[in-house]
């Protein structure tokens, strides 16, 4: 059996090689050129060698730096998204506080305050906290099990504003002061301003880190390209000596290094996108469907969105462009040195 199987394998291999030869000849006929004996022994016919050690090392550097830059830009996109989310979420909340006033029915005052809030343009939801809920709000400070009936505990009304709407808080504040005894409106302005400051700082910090990583990427890719080009100096010289024009030599290298940059950049960029997608999935699994809304409100959504992916693609193109342009610069510099 082993003899038969090795015979079958040999037959199958010889058939495969015959098929390849026939296809090659057919292709040669289609292209109208003769099949040249020994032609298959030719190696790399590209003027700039495709798979040199320096080229592969450069592709690896480009891939790693693109990955880091893409992950950083993705992180910054998430921070910016979260900061904007925090701002919009907090700015959509207002609170009306109604303090008990002697001789006034607090429940009636609450109803009046609710009616005034609902009447304000841009308000989508008004919910008054019950007596029990208001008491529970004090539990963290006073402890549980106390009877608070004798204490003048203020009552809270949560007011939710429509997304993007602007409520005339001055008018609402005035109507509450005139129409409801002991009522005051808190639009969290000081909190929102602090939050806005924090968000701006986070965005500026993120953009700063992104800028540094991008600068490091550009510099390291530039130097790696120069290193890879050093081994190609003899090729530049020979092309120059056989009468090639500067544009011809530069285009040979530029094309080759653009390909290298795109290969490395695409590898790094795709790896970064997969990591960001995976991180989004993992965060989704950890927070779970019930905690999703709260987590999204607190941390923002763990997604870089279409804009984030566009930025990663732009980074890949930028880095590939840098490798191509650097190779061109080195060619021009080498030719100037020769002359």
């Amino acid at each position: 059996m082993p003899a038969a199987s090795s015979f079958m394998m040999a037959t199958s291999m010889s058939m495969t090689s015959r098929l390849i030869t026939a296809l090659r000849k057919g292709w040669a006929r289609v292209r109208g050129r003769p099949s040249r004996p020994g032609r298959e022994m030719r190696g790399d016919v590209h003027i700039v060698p495709r798979d040199s050690i320096a080229a592969n090392a450069l592709a690896a550097v480009v891939a790693i730096m693109t990955f880091l830059a893409a992950v950083t830009s993705g992180g910054v996109a998430i921070v910016i998204g979260s900061a904007n989310e925090w701002q919009s979420e907090v700015s959509r909340e207002m609170t009306i506080q109604v303090r008990p006033t002697p001789g006034r029915d607090i429940e009636a005052e609450i109803s009046k305050a609710q009616a005034l809030a609902r009447a304000a343009a841009g308000v989508v939801e008004v919910r008054a906290y019950s007596r029990e809920e208001s008491d529970r709000l004090l539990e963290p400070w006073l402890g549980s099990g106390l009877t608070l009936d004798d204490l003048p505990v203020p009552r809270m009304i949560a007011v939710r504003v429509a997304r993007g709407a602007v409520v005339d808080t001055a008018a609402l504040r005035q109507s509450l002061a005139q129409g409801v005894a002991g009522a005051s409106l808190d639009d969290h302005r000081s909190g929102i301003n602090r939050m806005r400051g924090m968000a701006r700082a986070a965005i500026a910090g993120g953009l700063g880190v992104f800028g540094l990583v991008l600068a490091a990427t550009v510099l390291s890719v530039t130097f790696a390209t120069r290193g890879a080009m050093a081994s190609n100096r003899p090729i530049v010289e020979v092309l120059h000596f056989v009468g090639a024009k500067e544009a011809y030599i530069a285009s040979q290298f530029q094309r080759h290094f653009l390909g290298l940059g795109l290969r490395g950049g695409a590898l790094g960029g795709i790896a970064a996108m997969l990591c960001l997608m995976l991180a989004g999935r993992v965060s989704g699994l950890l927070t779970g469907p019930s905690g999703d809304a709260e987590a999204a409100a607190a941390l923002g959504r763990f997604s870089i969105g279409l804009m984030g992916y566009a930025v990663v693609a732009a980074e890949v193109a930028l880095i590939a462009g840098i490798t191509a342009l650097t190779s061109r610069q080195v060619v021009v510099h080498t030719l100037r040195n020769i002359e």
């Binding site: 190696g43 016919v45 003899p234 009468g243 024009k245 002359e339």
Partner: protein
């Protein structure tokens, strides 16, 4: 074809290594360029090959004043000159065929248009069996012949050879000299830089001798 008038050359702020060179190279001529080591033979070849600019004087090449030509025009002019380097300068990742075909490829020609030309020339220089070999597997003499083939494939009007017999045995040196003589007979002007007296004694040709930066011409 080539005219040097009071040409001088110095590197940076160093002393002038070539002084007041005035000579001409006629079409279809054959000459040896000799002189002791360090006399400036390679520098003179580089001036002839337009990869160096003189610090003074005038070089006229194919009726063009080289000082007034742009880089692209110099490249076009360089296509009319073939050079054989002492260290061959073959590209190791290309086959002998592709190395020899490089000047034609640079001209934008398709492989089909020069395939016969290149294989014929390789057969003529005795490298037919090594058409698809890579330079690292060639011997010194074979590399030298491949370099010569690359220098003449585009039918240059002038062939410059820098110590072409420096790395080969006397027998092969004689064969290479015969090759250069054949090329000269076919219409190419030849300048061979060498300090091999025995080689020069084998062929009665014009001699350009460099000494102390000056050139002495023996017709």
């Amino acid at each position: 074809m080539i005219q040097f008038e009071n040409v001088g050359l110095r590197y940076g702020l160093g002393p002038e290594i070539l002084r007041d060179l005035s000579f001409h190279i006629a079409p279809r001529s054959f000459q040896f360029l000799s002189g002791p080591s360090g006399a400036g033979k390679s520098s003179l070849l580089r001036l002839l090959f337009l990869t160096l600019k003189p610090t003074r004087g005038l070089i006229t090449l194919f009726d063009h004043d080289t000082a007034s030509l742009s880089a692209d025009s110099l490249a076009v002019l360089r296509r009319r000159i073939g050079v054989v380097f002492q260290d061959f300068r073959l590209l190791d990742h290309l086959t002998t065929f592709d190395n020899v075909a490089l000047p034609l490829r640079v001209l934008g020609r398709e492989e089909d248009s020069y395939y016969e030309e290149v294989t014929e020339l390789l057969n003529w220089v005795g490298l037919g069996e090594h058409t698809w070999s890579l330079p690292p597997v060639l011997s010194g003499g074979e590399k030298q012949r491949a370099a010569i083939a690359r220098a003449v494939i585009a039918r240059p009007q002038l062939l410059l050879a820098d110590e072409p017999t420096g790395n080969v045995d006397p027998q092969l040196a004689q064969r290479l000299l015969r090759l250069f003589i054949e090329l000269n007979k076919s219409g190419t002007s030849v300048v061979i830089a060498t300090h091999d007296i025995a080689l020069m004694d084998q062929y009665d040709a014009r001699r350009l001798v460099l000494h102390d930066g000056y050139i002495h011409v023996y017709d």
